[in-house]
């Protein structure tokens, strides 16, 4: 993991070495998501994969989570829409995640309602083996919307917002699995935004795509930012600089540094961040 012996090897050590863990805090009123001292475990609290994470994610911006494999960035992302509930032994051991001021792990929160507000795009594009139209309409249909014209309208609008409409408008009823990889991923984005969430989580959305398809998705992210708060996990440093406003760097389950993307990449305050973003390890 660590390439030079002079590097500190323990994440806690690195964290303590950084004087200000959160040098540029977002004002509470501007933040969409507040992560407050969150620790998370997959085995009922025996070992924590996230350790006392605290930071605020601003509304209407793109926030990138970066860090080497196994650092917990995807886990944190899946905490935000409670997808980790699917693992029976998972547990938030300390702290709170508040979205729009509401603790999402409170007992009166219905994860189904939460996920309607917090959509997710996955690493590997995963359209249903249904038609393009049915894929986009799925989220609305499960909410009980049956009105044909309403659905048509929503499908068209979502596909347009996902920059896919012109490519598929003549074959809405053919299978989604016949599209190219990049198109399938954009379809998944269209499917996610069709239900009008506040937040869109993206878990390495371009890792399975070629450079051209990646560029199109990145353009799309820039456009969607106006309407949605986007949190994106990425392995690709260039991508983070291109699409995100703010970047959080994770290492071994801890948040090492969180700042404006420009600052993180140009002038990180922690040595370890610099090593990672400059490609010296990772």
């Amino acid at each position: 993991m660590v390439t030079t012996s002079s590097q500190p090897t323990d994440a806690a050590e690195i964290a303590s070495a950084s004087a200000a863990n959160n040098p540029n805090p977002i004002a509470k009123e501007d933040s969409m998501i507040e992560v407050d001292d969150v620790s998370f475990s997959y085995d009922m609290g025996k070992t924590n994969v996230l350790k006392n994470i605290s930071f605020n994610i601003p509304a209407g911006k793109v926030t990138a989570l970066i860090g080497p494999s196994g650092c917990g960035k995807s886990t944190l992302l899946r905490c935000l829409n409670r997808m980790n509930d699917l693992v029976d032994t998972s547990k938030v051991t300390t702290g709170q995640i508040r979205i729009m001021g509401q603790d999402i792990n409170a007992s009166d929160v219905d994860p189904i309602e939460l996920r309607k507000q917090v959509g997710m795009v996955f690493q590997k594009y995963n359209p249903f083996p249904k038609s393009i139209y049915d894929n986009v309409a799925y989220g609305l249909r499960i909410q009980g919307i049956k009105n044909k014209s309403k659905l048509n309208e929503a499908v068209e609008k979502s596909l347009q917002r996902a920059a896919l409409w012109s490519e598929v408008k003549d074959r809405l009823n053919s299978s989604a699995l016949g599209l190219s990889g990049g198109q399938q991923q954009r379809l998944c984005i269209a499917r996610t935004i069709a239900v009008n969430p506040r937040i869109v989580l993206m878990d390495e959305p371009c890792s399975a795509l070629d450079p051209i398809a990646t560029a199109r998705i990145e353009e799309l992210i820039a456009e969607l930012q106006e309407e949605f708060t986007i949190v994106i996990v990425t392995h690709n440093m260039q991508q983070a600089t291109r699409v995100s406003d703010r970047t959080a760097f994770f290492y071994l389950g801890e948040l090492i540094e969180y700042n404006d993307t420009a600052t993180i990449f140009a002038n990180p305050s922690v040595r370890h961040t610099e090593d990672y973003v400059s490609g010296r390890f990772g």
Binding site: N81, L86, I112, F122, N126, F128, P129, Y138, I142, V195
Partner: protein, 639 residues
């Protein structure tokens, strides 16, 4: 050079250890393939030989005029069905409308019968004593006889009193037609009953005449329908006798050469001189004909054509007014039902009779039988009759229908259970429940089918019959059940056998649905149930379909349960009952093979017919398996 890379290990006859292992497994695979191929060839050969043999049998059937006779037999069968429906309706109505009256008449019959049996000696004495009084000439003798008679009479009166006192109402009136009051009235009336004169009490007489009067119109119609076929019935008997005789003669003729040869051999080898002479004489009596003179024999039958025409005309002439005269306003709903069925069937029967008459008029004994007839009469023949004194029929249809109906019921019951269980276990249950439910369902498959069949006879059959007799369930088609062993019972048990197969394969199919689909649906705000219903099941549908097909293959090949529980009645079930058809007994393709294969002589047509049934079964199973594979291959998930 070779010393560095030399093969290690011992070699026997140039075969090393690795080679030996390879040959062993290869050999196993080859033997399995070979055995399967041999089975297929054997089955196909035996089955294929059935058809030419069947064609020859049908030729004889035609040449001997048995085919013509069969027209009359079938006409008679159709007519008999209407006749028996009429009788059923009549008795239903009688029981419903005149239950008490019938109860009185029957109970009187039973009571008096018991008295005749138990008081046999006493009654004889009484009769003798009365005769003695009548025969006595002198005054004195008369008085003496009278005294004796009085004594016996008193004895009888006591006996009668005692017998009536201990008469058991539920045993005598077993159908429970009489109330307490009527029973008491009957007993009171019986106290004055005289066994010698054997006159029913006025009460019973009145009941009888009331019943007869009330049922008179129905009875007249019934009689008209019942006697309509008497001429046809007579003709049927005659024709069977005549044509069977021709056939017997023809069959004997066919074997005459062989018999003559055997007798001649015997005459040479016999021990005594007399025996030798006798056997030789017998052998010489046998004449060997090149061709059996069918044309000559059949003349006896040709004369029956006119009779046949007349019999049908007579039948129709009585049947039409008979059916028209059936009363419409009946007290019993069941009788009403039956009568409306008769009214429907009447015109059908007449149309059938006319058509059959026409066909029989066109029938010629010397028309050749084509091989197509041999094939179609097997696949679409409505009768499977073996070891008959008249003619053996090998028609697949009743067996096929039975197998199909039972399998369909089994699937209809098994699919929701197994699919539901598979969805629950795979998607909704916790790991603990999974660990309990899955092995239990899979364990059902471990129950020996003979045990299930036993359970079906003793428990399920009885339970179904009890349930079907509950009065407020009588609206269910086919209820109350006439038979304990029937299609429904067998279908339910087979459903139980199909559940593990369908469940396991469905569960696999559902398990194969990529978790990315589930995650996508959940991330869009879908509930678990919505995810299962809208994403998981539609995605797994090809696997589920294949599971159902394989379940179908499992049940249609099942033998023991159907043999024990289906009722084994070789007839196409009466679809006139609608859904109620499932409460009838049936026989199956598997059942018939299991039942009859042990008793047939190899090489006979019956033996080969069973092989043909086997081949049909094999083909069905094969097709099912192939289509299941195709479905999985074509629509299966790449994941």
């Amino acid at each position: 050079m070779a010393t560095h890379f030399k093969r290690k290990g011992k070699r026997v006859l140039g075969v090393g250890r690795q080679d030996a292992i390879r040959f062993f497994f290869g050999g196993n695979a080859m033997i399995s393939t070979f055995v399967l191929g041999a089975i297929c060839i054997f089955l196909a050969r035996e089955a294929a030989m059935f058809f030419p043999q069947h064609q020859r049998e049908l030729e004889v059937f035609r040449l001997t005029g048995q085919e013509y006779t069969n027209f009359v037999i079938e006409e008679m069968d159709e007519y008999t069905e209407v006749k028996s429906l009429t009788n059923q309706a009549f008795y239903q109505e009688m029981n419903e409308a005149y239950g008490i009256q019938r109860g009185l008449v029957d109970s009187f019959g039973a009571l008096s019968g018991n008295l005749f049996d138990d008081g046999e000696d006493l009654i004889e004495e009484l009769e003798d004593a009365r005769d003695a009084v009548d025969d006595a000439d002198e005054e004195e003798a008369k008085t003496l006889a009278q005294t004796e008679l009085d004594g016996i009479q008193a004895k009888w009166d006591n006996f009668l009193q005692a017998e009536l006192g201990k008469a058991d109402r539920t045993a005598v009136d077993s159908f429970g037609r009489l109330g307490k009051k009527e029973w008491q009235e009957l007993l009171d009336a019986m106290t004055a009953w005289d066994p010698v004169e054997d006159q029913p009490p006025a009460l019973v007489e009145a009941a009888k005449s009331e019943m007869n009067k009330g049922m008179a119109a129905f009875d007249a119609a019934r009689m008209l329908i019942g006697s309509a076929g008497s001429e046809l019935s007579k003709l049927r008997g005659e024709l069977i006798k005549v044509t069977t005789a021709i056939k017997d003669e023809a069959v004997a003729d066919k074997s005459s050469a062989a018999r003559k040869k055997a007798l001649l051999e015997g005459s040479v080898n016999a021990a005594t001189k007399e025996d030798r002479a006798r056997l030789k004489e017998q052998a010489e009596k046998i004449t060997i004909r090149k061709n059996f003179p069918y044309a000559e024999r059949i003349t006896a039958l040709e004369g029956s054509r006119e009779k046949h025409k007349a019999a049908i005309a007579a039948l129709e002439a009585d049947l039409k007014p008979g059916i028209a005269a059936l009363p419409t306003d009946l007290a019993s709903a069941q009788a009403q039902d039956l009568v409306s069925r008769i009214r429907e069937k009447g015109p059908e029967l007449i149309a059938y009779l006319d058509q059959s008459l026409q066909e029989s008029a066109d029938w010629r004994y010397d028309q050749p039988v084509s091989w197509i007839t041999s094939v179609t009469s097997f696949f679409f023949g409505k009768d499977w009759v073996t070891n008959s004194s008249f003619h053996d029929f090998y028609g697949l249809l009743p067996l096929f229908t039975g197998s199909l109906l039972i399998s369909i019921i089994a699937l209809i019951v098994a699919i929701p259970f197994s699919l539901g269980a598979a969805i629950y276990v795979n998607r909704l249950a916790g790991p603990k429940q999974q660990n309990i439910i899955k092995p239990i369902i899979e364990l059902i498959g471990a129950i020996p089918s003979v045990v299930l069949g036993f359970f079906g006879i003793i428990v399920l059959g009885e339970a179904l019959r009890e349930i079907s007799q509950v009065p407020w369930l009588s609206w269910v088609p086919g209820f109350p059940m006439q038979e304990r062993l029937n299609i429904l019972n067998a279908g339910l048990l087979l459903a139980l056998m199909a559940v593990p197969t369908i469940f396991t394969l469905c569960e696999d199919a559902i398990n194969n649905v990529p978790s990315s689909f589930t995650e996508a649906s959940l991330a869009l705000g879908g509930s678990k149930l919505q995810t299962v219903m809208r994403v998981v099941v539609p995605t797994a549908v090809s696997g589920i379909l294949a599971a159902i097909l394989l379940g179908f293959g499992r049940v249609i090949g099942e033998t023991m349960v159907v043999l024990l529980v289906a009722g084994n009645q070789i007839a196409i079930p009466d679809f006139g009952l609608g859904v109620g058809v499932i409460t009838q007994p049936a026989h199956t393709m598997t059942g018939i093979i299991a039942q009859e294969m042990g008793e047939v002589t190899s090489g006979t047509i019956h033996y080969r017919a069973l092989f043909s049934v086997g081949l049909v079964l094999f083909t069905i199973s094969l097709l099912i398996n192939i289509s299941a594979r195709r479905i999985i291959k074509r629509f299966g998930l790449a994941a």
